[in-house]
């Protein structure tokens, strides 16, 4: 029996621990659904006889000599078969730990998964690992078969016992099995009919479960994402080529290119050997478009509409699985491939290493082969991406070490802001006014230059104490000096902002702008903000690069937590404050600050003295024994 191929086949991956009977199950399924080519069943029977064993349905798949000899599947195999309802492509993924990369390769292609568990052995390491990786790969339709029920005399108690264990594990991953079917592939029980040896089982048989899965739905209703694959100039047309990963595009659409942040209009959608030119295209289509203007566009950029653009960031968090022979380590660099973009990323930190046995996580500084963990990655350039939960196609990536793909991951931004430039000038018709009072004149009147001392550090590191103390002493010396801190900014200028990553980033941008105004007016500004993100401080620096001095007020979390002047750490640990830096949100240390004041082993006076010496050295007109 064969069905028409007009509808796409459902792609089904079969996973599970080695020797739990995946290949046997598939061979038997093909036989029982009449999907084997003529003569194949006889060949399998003959092949089994020649090897002096009972009929081994796994031989249906094992076309390669090496596999037959070892009795394990090395690589994924694709098998086409059908039921009365529809066509399937079965992907047989190897269960041996060594071949996890092949299992991943197969499972990533699938629309649904079948997890095979041996009735006698129960859940084993690879059963759990495969379950976890299905979850990471975004496969949400999962069914479980408990195979080899003949080996446990078809006992219901054993089925119930395993079912409880399996459901518990999967729910820990946020997965729910469509069904848990007791079968014996070898004996043909529960495959295409109710198992007559297990009259106690009242659920669906395997084929019923498979037929209940849903075909994939293209994300045409999500925001447009069209990663640029290439730019062609074969003839007079300049064509931007790429595949629409989500959403729709139409001629005449105003589109945004990220991360360059340019906008342009779609002039045409080009194609070959079609009757009428297309006016629109949607998710899944590989298209070529032309634009109204000749913008510089290159592979790796992402086209979206102006509303609902991707996130722009150079740092993100990810849950990853590691396939590399060498472990993933903090500080190591890899090539990131995200949609069509390729960039170098550095592992900034490894937050957790996940133990698939019991789903617990622990800290670690490396991730070994076949391991799973959560990491923070930092790129040199700005990236356009999405959270995996929002848009899987642009929210996942692979890492390459030298020549090899060594891992894959899915993105989440928890604790990190979208860095899409808020500083863009939206007002038009602004004309710069030329000041007649120059910075030099101001400096001479004040006896010192204006500037920004940007104090950054954890809560409790001593930023405010240091700033207030320094302000007082500098003022006494005749300095025009002023402190910007949470109190005078948060209650006024930034009273509309909260503490979510985006709000904190915006707050820091505003402080940067205000500090620049003060400094331009000749004042020495001390800012006292945690300012945890490197990107935000870099942006503040870029607002006034000649005036900006980064001062790292250093003290480790333990020291700060010991001080806890405002009782904030206590509240954060109790979960009363969300996104608290150092506890539930990251703090990124400065890489090359102009000055580091380590307050952990100094008195306040000693720290202030260090800061004052720096000011005298860099801002006073009488420094180095004379003015200018």
């Amino acid at each position: 029996m064969t069905l028409s191929s007009e509808s796409p086949a459902l792609k089904l991956v079969v996973v599970g621990h080695v020797d739990h009977g995946k290949s046997t199950l598939i061979g038997r399924l093909l036989h029982d659904t009449d999907s084997l080519p003529d003569g194949k069943a006889e060949a399998v029977i003959k092949m089994s006889e020649r090897r002096g064993m009972p009929v081994e349905w796994a031989f249906v798949l094992d076309a390669l000599q090496a596999e037959r000899d070892q009795g394990i599947t090395i690589d994924t195999t694709q098998i086409f078969f059908n039921t009365d309802k529809r066509n399937y492509v079965i992907i047989d993924a190897p269960g041996h730990k060594e071949f996890l990369k092949n299992m991943v390769s197969g499972a990533a292609l699938s629309d649904a998964a079948l997890l095979v568990i041996d009735a006698k052995d129960g859940m084993q390491e690879q059963s759990r690992r495969h379950g976890y990786i299905l979850h990471l790969l975004g496969v949400r339709q999962v069914a479980v078969v408990i195979n080899k029920m003949d080996l446990v005399e078809y006992r219901e108690e054993r089925y119930q016992e395993l079912t409880g264990e399996i459901r518990k594990y999967l729910s820990g991953l946020g997965l729910e099995a469509a069904a848990i079917v007791p079968i014996s592939a070898r004996e043909g029980q529960g495959m295409v009919a109710r198992p007559d040896r297990m009259p106690w089982y009242e659920g669906p048989h395997l084929v019923e479960v498979l037929d209940g899965f849903n075909p994939p739905v293209l994300p045409t209703d999500r925001p447009l994402r069209l990663p640029v694959q290439d730019v062609y100039k074969f003839d007079e047309r300049r064509i931007i080529a790429g595949r629409i990963e989500s959403g729709r595009i139409h001629t005449g659409d105003r589109i945004l290119i990220s991360p360059s942040n340019k906008t342009v209009t779609v002039k045409s959608i080009e194609s070959w050997n079609v009757k009428d030119p297309a006016l629109g295209a949607s998710a899944g289509q590989s298209v070529g478009i032309t634009l109204s203007e000749q913008l510089f566009i290159e592979r790796g950029q992402v086209i979206s509409h102006e509303s609902n653009p991707p996130i722009e960031t150079n740092v993100f968090r990810a849950r990853i699985f590691w396939l590399g022979k060498k472990p993933l380590e903090v500080g190591k660099r890899y090539k990131l491939k995200l949609a069509t973009n390729e960039q170098t990323v550095e592992v900034q930190s490894i937050e957790t290493v996940i133990d698939v046995e019991n789903l617990t996580s622990s800290a670690g500084d490396k991730l070994e082969r076949n391991g799973i963990g959560e990491v923070t990655l930092r790129a040199r350039a700005m990236l356009a991406l999405d959270e995996f939960a929002e848009n899987p196609k642009t929210g996942r990536f692979v890492l390459v070490d030298e020549y090899d793909t060594v891992g894959g991951g899915i993105i989440f931004m928890e604790g990190y802001p979208d860095q899409r430039a808020r500083g863009d000038v939206r007002s038009t018709n602004i004309t710069a006014v030329e000041h007649r009072v120059t910075p030099d004149l101001r400096a001479r009147a004040n006896g010192h230059e204006g500037g920004i001392l940007w104090l950054t550090g954890l809560s409790g590191a001593g930023k405010s104490t240091l700033a207030i103390e320094a302000e007082q002493q500098l003022f006494a010396k005749g300095y025009q000096v002023y402190v910007l801190d949470g109190d005078n900014i948060r209650f006024g200028l930034s009273s509309d902002l909260g503490f979510a990553p985006e709000d904190r980033a915006e707050n820091i941008r505003r402080v940067g702008e205000v500090a620049k105004l003060f400094a331009s007016a000749g004042v020495l500004v001390l800012t006292a903000f945690i300012s945890p993100y490197r990107a935000d401080r870099d942006r503040a620096r870029s607002i006034a690069p000649d005036l900006f001095h980064e001062v790292y007020v250093a003290a480790d979390v333990a020291t700060c937590e010991g001080r806890d002047p405002k009782g904030l750490y206590k509240k954060a640990r109790a979960g009363e404050i969300k996104d608290f830096t150092g506890v539930s949100a990251p703090y990124e240390e400065p890489v090359t600050p102009e000055l580091t004041v380590d307050t952990s082993d100094k008195t306040v006076n000693e720290s202030v003295a260090e800061l004052l010496a720096y000011v005298e050295e860099n801002f006073s007109l009488t420094r180095n024994g004379g003015g200018r």
């Binding site: 064969t2 069905l3 028409s4 191929s5 007009e6 509808s7 796409p8 084997l36 080519p37 003529d38 798949l61 076309a63 390669l64 000599q65 090496a66 090395i74 690589d75 994924t76 195999t77 694709q78 098998i79 086409f80 990369k101 092949n102 991943v104 390769s105 499972a107 990533a108 292609l109 790969l137 694959q229 290439d230 062609y232 074969f234 003839d235 064509i239 080529a241 595949r243 080009e270 194609s271 070959w272 050997n273 949607s282 899944g284 289509q285 590989s286 070529g288 592979r299 396939l323 090539k335 491939k337 996942r396 990536f397 692979v398 390459v400 030298e402 020549y403 090899d404 793909t405 894959g408």
Partner: protein
Amino acid sequence: MDHLDALEAQSVYILREAFNKFDRMGMLWSLGKDSNVMVWLARKAFLGHVPFPLMFCDTGKKFPEMYAFQKKYAAEWGVNLIVKDCPPIEEIDPTLPPATRSAARKTEALKRLIAERDIQAVIAGIRRDEEATRAKERVFSPRGENAEWDFRDQPPEFWDQFKTDFAPGTHIRIHPILHWTELDIWRYIQRENIPIVDLYFSNNGKRYRSLGDQDITFPIQSEASTIEEIIAELEATTIAERSGRAMDHEAEDAFERLRTAGYM
């Protein structure tokens, strides 16, 4: 978007990835139905152009209809065609079974062509549903210095992130229609009106389902003389597509040996 649109879009994506990554690349044009579909897909991907040469390893034993077809469409499609003559059978590993040995001439010609032109990547029109070892292939499949395929240690390939970084000396096979089935090919030929060699249609109760050299390819019993009839025939058959290709059947592992050594 229907099924054929989805298959086409994926193939176009693969071809565009390949073109972006390799400067010296060629596409194998065996003149069979699959490779004609593949050339057609390249023209879809590159908006009417085929921006790399089509390569043909000539055994000298193809059917006359195939040579005529090649002459006609190479000119009509305006493609850059490179023909490479295969070495004589005497230069091929004598331990191979006869038909397998004959087929291996093509592999040898291809190796020489790759060396002469310093080709980095070869695009080949194999499909996973054709044959069991092909089912295990990657879309971007690395080969060793002697074109050999190590199916035991293939790179991971997922989320359409293909292997595009290589140690010097590595050679790559690219398989843009790996995910198509035989029926998909025929339905696409029908929809797009793609020219094919007449030998696929029934003549005196026989037709070829798969085309190779005259002496090692055999026709099947069939009355199908139109594409519609071929599709109807395939929807009902349980006979393997390559059953008429002698080298697949000489030994349990004949085709595997051919592919490990670099056959398509």
